[in-house]
């Protein structure tokens, strides 16, 4: 592998890894507070990717999608939380997992009803369709923009979680939501806000990913599998774990796609198995 190619693949890996981070960050936030794994998370990403496709079709511009899709998915997440999930908080974890799984199935079917079962391409925005020169190397501008925008989003999420009052409540709630409730904070509202935030993050991941990989109705299962791998590798409950896991998995996938294209996806899971063998708690895990 030449230096040019290696650098290219590592940068690609960082780009994919940042999208994986956004996906896993939403899952981790929801788990941290509510202690259940949201199986509809991949479907949130799917819905956002298709909204991006639709917005690009209507307006010819992806920029609107960057605003509309995360907001719409956050609203969808809140509706789902209000209508269905809040009835399951007293039930066993299995019930919550199965309900979110059923919601994922339903959303997938709705997407197929609306857009058909076949995959579609989403064009890269014309402003970012070119290449940029990084010293002596060339690189696609859109991929660089993905890395940059995901980094900005990561920074914002980190600031929200670490520096704002909502973040403080979130972190306290992940220790004991009962205690937070006793302190006079409306826990139900916090749950709603967390679900909205998690949905918005999955939505942003969907928007950024759509031009890279196109859209197809079954991308939700794949995304969910990868988000789980990222969380197992990085450790559940921390943003830094999601970031470390996302980057590691993205870079492994990207480099392997040059060395052994048909086995690149396989190696993601092999990397996960190795991490469990060596460090069962994950790289930076709390749980």
């Amino acid at each position: 592998m030449s230096m040019q190619l290696l650098l290219f693949q590592v940068l690609n890996g960082v780009g994919i890894g940042m999208i994986y981070f956004l996906l896993a960050a939403g899952l981790t936030l929801i788990f941290g507070l509510m202690r259940f794994v949201n199986f509809a998370h991949g479907a949130f990403y799917l819905v956002a990717a298709y909204l991006t496709f639709a917005v690009v079709q209507w307006t010819g511009s992806i920029w609107w999608a960057l605003l509309i899709a995360p907001v719409a998915v956050a609203a969808l997440a809140v509706v789902i939380e209000r209508v269905l999930l809040r009835h399951t908080y007293k039930m066993p974890h299995e019930a919550q997992i199965l309900i979110t799984f059923a919601i994922a199935l339903l959303l997938q079917e709705l997407v197929i009803m609306g857009f058909g079962p076949l995959g579609q391409n989403v064009p890269v925005p014309p402003q970012l369709a070119g290449i940029v020169f990084l010293g002596p190397y060339v690189y696609p501008a859109y991929r660089l923009a993905v890395v940059a925008s995901a980094a900005v989003i990561a920074l914002v999420v980190w600031l929200v979680v670490e520096k704002t009052k909502l973040g403080a409540i979130l972190r306290a709630g992940s220790e004991s939501s009962e205690m937070v409730g006793l302190l006079g904070i409306n826990v139900e509202r916090v749950f709603m806000a967390t679900f909205a935030l998690g949905g918005a993050l999955a939505g942003l991941a969907g928007v950024l990913a759509a031009p890279l990989r196109g859209v197809e109705p079954f991308m939700s299962g794949e995304a969910l599998g990868i988000a789980f791998v990222v969380i197992v590798v990085g450790g559940l409950g921390t943003l830094s774990g999601a970031l470390a896991g996302g980057l590691l998995i993205g870079i492994v996938q990207s480099i392997m796609s040059t060395l052994w294209p048909q086995g690149a996806q396989l190696m993601i899971y092999a990397a996960m198995a190795i991490v469990i063998l060596i460090r069962p708690a994950g790289l930076l895990g709390r749980f």
Partner: protein, 316 residues
């Protein structure tokens, strides 16, 4: 509620259903039902007895299918040795992966089962030379000689798969009633306490995961034999989800729930798929309704009726 000893009403009912199904519906439909009921038993055993929710039993179903395809087509094995080896292959691979999976507890279990199921699918795609990649394995033999009998007609395939299901059903029922099953229940109810009582919780989990993997692989082997080829969909995530949905709809409180769920899912999908291609949306809604309002699944309706009748007869 006292445990009713074998042979109980549930067993009798299941045997009756298996016996009359081929009269009520096309033979191929009945065969699919018993094959998927067998697969569903692996979820029922894990979730119902040990409280382990698996999103990845399709991995072992696929391992059973592919082992069967390779042994029958490329190595000229007979039917019975193939079924045995395929089952053992599923149990062994489940046991090995379980050694990794039980290193993480609780919520990680669910995520790891799904992740390893995905891994199996991508492994099949990567090992194209052996597995046929996206084309699967075609050209399996369509007739088998077992102990002087020939298995080639639709009825003989049904008998083979129905006997296979009943064996798996009795195995799960016997396991639940055994001391091993009692330990699984104690792990389900309180893992830390079971550990404090001196049980090697991890090894019990590995053992039950291996048995469930063997059952799923056995159903996969029957599926490949029945179809005459190995479709790659046998190892996709969708098949793991399908058998999980069957298990939840039927109910995991009793192994009989497996056949109830399989009948419901396959009959509904067969009836609706002609009318509406997106029938899966209705299955999703049914799943939500069952989780919210009928946590014991369809089978528990029968149990409730039986309990109510018993209560009435003993009370008055």
């Amino acid at each position: 509620m006292s445990e009713i000893r074998f042979p109980d009403v549930a067993t009798l009912l299941v045997v009756t259903v298996v016996a009359i199904m081929p009269v009520l519906m096309p033979m191929t439909l009945a065969t699919s039902i018993v094959i998927f009921a067998t697969a569903t038993l692996s979820v029922t055993l894990l979730l119902g007895s040990a409280g382990l929710l698996s999103f990845g039993q399709g991995l072992y179903l696929g391992i059973g299918s592919y082992t069967t395809g390779i042994l029958l087509r490329d190595h000229g094995f007979g039917l019975m040795p193939t079924l045995v080896i395929a089952t053992l292959a599923g149990a062994l691979s489940a046991g090995i992966l379980a050694l990794l999976i039980v290193r993480r507890r609780g919520i990680y279990f669910v995520m790891l089962t799904l992740a390893f199921a995905q891994m199996g699918y991508f492994a099949v795609l990567a090992a194209k030379d052996v597995t046929g990649g996206e084309n699967g394995l075609t050209g399996l033999p369509r007739s088998f000689a077992v102990g002087g009998m020939t298995i080639a007609s639709p009825l003989s395939f049904y008998l083979l798969t129905a006997v296979g299901f009943l064996l798996a059903f009795l195995l799960v029922q016997r396991l639940n009633a055994s001391p091993f099953g009692s330990v699984l229940i104690s792990i389900r109810e309180n893992e830390s306490r079971s550990e404090a009582m001196g049980y090697d919780v991890k090894m019990f989990k590995v053992a039950v995961i291996a048995v469930a993997g063997g059952i799923a692989a056995f159903s996969g082997a029957l599926h490949a034999v029945f179809l005459g080829f190995v479709p790659p969909s046998d190892i996709e995530l969708e098949i793991s989800q399908r058998i999980l949905v069957m298990a939840i709809i039927g109910g995991v409180g009793s192994p009989a729930g497996a056949i109830a769920g399989s009948i419901f899912y396959i009959v509904v999908s067969e009836a609706l798929s002609e009318l509406w291609a997106r029938w899966m949306a209705l299955i999703a809604l049914a799943l939500i309704a069952i989780v919210l309002f009928l946590p014991g699944g369809l089978w528990s309706v029968g149990q409730r009726i039986a309990m109510a009748r018993k209560g009435r007869s003993s009370g008055g």
